[in-house]
Amino acid sequence: MRLKQLSLFLENQPAHLRHPCRILADAGINIRTLSLADAEQFGILRLIVADWQRAQAVLEEAGCAVRVDEVVALEVDDERGGLAEVLAVLEGGGHNVEYIYAFTAGRSGRAVLIMRFRDTDAAIATLRVGGVRVLEAAELLGGG
């Protein structure tokens, strides 16, 4: 239910985003989903991959600064109000979402949200009690 997310620091310049993507591609690692948070001079690239340990190793070997965090993946209906309902549950538990990104590909009628919390365990508990389906890493990424 907790998912590892890799974060990379990138300078906000042409070709800087391609570098880590190329490294992962060459290592045969597929990026399942990502988000890029940007400021004027730099950006933070967040990645979800199946084999995060190997991805971290190849990225670090290539000179990237990599950080690993735990995020939560949950599934909602891909329809109006799906997100609002989940946010209401979290609000009820007093949890603030640090950031969020979503993807729908490959899951008909359902969307997956990746969320980052200060207190991951407490947020997961609240989501469970509120009837939200929190995904296991294996469910989302396949394999063990």
């Binding site: 990138l10 948070a37 600064a65 950080r67």
Partner: protein
């Protein structure tokens, strides 16, 4: 008992215990005075620039009756070597000079330094004592990554290590691949390098399958550029070796002027050959032991190029307390800054060491950084590029902006002017294979 005769050409073993490092103080001072008098007489007789300056001051070699009388003599400065380029300060006929080295001058002509046979023997001796102070001994395998060539580092360390009875591998600087191979395959127990180059090797070690804990490498002998206590801790933690600071400059002899010992607190100067003074860099007045100022060195035994009261531009102080290691030759504090490294921004004097202190205060360890000075519309701008390390990386933009702001505030606090901070990706700032280039001045002055 039958004494076995040493085979022809065998090296006399070096005996640390009988080295002059441990001379009783009174005996050391007597030796220094005798040698000083002989050196001053030699320079007065043979170096016209020195003689003329003495005459202007009305001082002759006969006036040097005590070590304290040294203060009556004129200083020698780096530009004196440039102005008399190439051979103007030599005190030996060319026929007696067996070696020349030269510094790569960043501006204009280089400076040339000369050695007689006896000077080379002294150089080997002080480098042997340097390496011994760093804990090396006969039987060590020394990878010498100081540059061989006109630079004094490579050959200086080379002869010292040989004299010590060690096995020397003259890898010289650069070619990281080959350095890694040698370190892994040749059973290297000690490495001589610039600290920034060793940090570069540490960063690249993973790619070469090097596990430091499996290597017999024990000691790093680091010099040729200023480095900090924080860099030492980083090197020792990452590699598990003991890192020692050594000191020297070509004008005096090359490496071998001073070295840390097992105490790793201050560098012993081999003052039976190089007499130290600390002066106020503004007034030129000598300062008592313990006070910080510019280090001034006088060679006591060099023949080809005696240096009288050479201003090193290095800022340090003499440590008055005796060292727990038992050496009687005095120590200086490690050199954090040179009056040369200083730059002026909007009328404020700034040393790179201040920038390091500010970065260290925020991050806990010293990141790679580079200072760039530019001038826009007549106004000086200073920007510090800082490499992001995994330890300070945040997964939010706000977190990184916060880091940037804390670094900028720390710099403003230490230096007193607002300074731009730019966060850059790891391993993107230039790592020269030799000295790290900390300051890039792009101002057209």
């Amino acid at each position: 008992m039958v004494e076995q005769a040493a085979p022809a050409g065998a090296r006399q073993p070096f005996q640390l215990s009988s080295a002059p490092d441990f001379l009783p103080e009174a005996q050391l001072r007597t030796l220094q005075l005798e040698r000083l008098q002989a050196t001053v007489a030699r320079a007065y007789e043979r170096v016209s620039l020195f003689r003329e300056r003495c005459q202007q001051r009305g001082v002759t070699p006969a006036d040097i009756r005590s070590l304290a009388d040294l203060r009556a003599l004129p200083f020698t400065v780096k530009t004196d070597l440039r102005d008399t380029y190439p051979f103007g300060l030599f005190a030996s006929p060319k026929a007696d000079v067996v070696r020349l080295h030269a510094s790569s001058g960043t501006t204009g002509k280089p400076i040339v330094v000369a050695y007689t046979e006896s000077d080379l023997a002294i150089w080997s001796e002080v480098m042997t004592r340097t390496l011994a102070a760093c804990g090396l001994h006969a039987g060590d395998t020394v990878q010498n990554a100081f540059g061989y060539g006109l630079f004094t580092g490579g050959l200086g360390a080379h002869y010292g290590a040989e004299r010590l009875g060690a096995t020397v591998i003259p890898t010289s600087g650069g070619n990281t691949e080959r350095q890694m191979m040698v370190m892994k395959d040749f059973g290297v127990t000690a490495l001589c390098a610039t600290p920034s180059y060793f940090l570069h090797l540490l960063e690249r070690a993973g790619e070469h399958g090097i596990d430091w804990s499996e290597l017999p490498l024990r000691v790093g002998v680091f010099g040729a550029e200023p480095w900090t206590e924080a860099m030492r801790q980083r090197i020792e933690q990452l590699s598990g070796i003991r890192a020692y600071d050594i000191y020297g400059l070509s004008e005096i002899i090359g490496p071998g002027v001073g070295s840390e010992c097992s105490a790793q607190h201050g560098l012993h100067l081999f003052e039976d050959h190089f007499y130290p003074e600390i002066i106020d860099p503004e007034t030129g007045e000598p300062l008592p032991d313990g006070q910080e100022g510019e280090l001034v060195l006088t060679t006591l035994t060099k023949q080809a190029m005696p240096m009288i009261r050479y201003r090193t531009r290095d800022i340090t102080s003499i440590i008055p307390e005796p060292c727990p290691c038992g050496r009687t030759v005095r120590r200086i504090e490690r050199i954090g800054r040179r009056s040369d490294d200083m730059f002026i921004i909007r009328g404020i004097n700034v040393f790179p060491s201040q920038v390091e202190a500010a970065l260290l205060a925020v991050e806990g360890t010293l990141p790679h950084y580079q200072i760039t000075l530019t001038r826009e519309h007549g106004l000086d701008r200073m920007e510090v590029a800082v490499e992001v390390t995994p330890e300070v990386l945040s997964d939010t933009v706000g977190g990184m902006a916060g880091l940037q702001q804390r670094l900028a505030e720390s710099l403003a606090h230490v230096i007193g002017v607002r300074i731009g901070v730019r966060l850059v990706e790891p391993r993107t700032l230039p790592r020269s294979e030799g000295k790290a280039q900390r300051v890039v001045d792009q101002r057209d002055v």
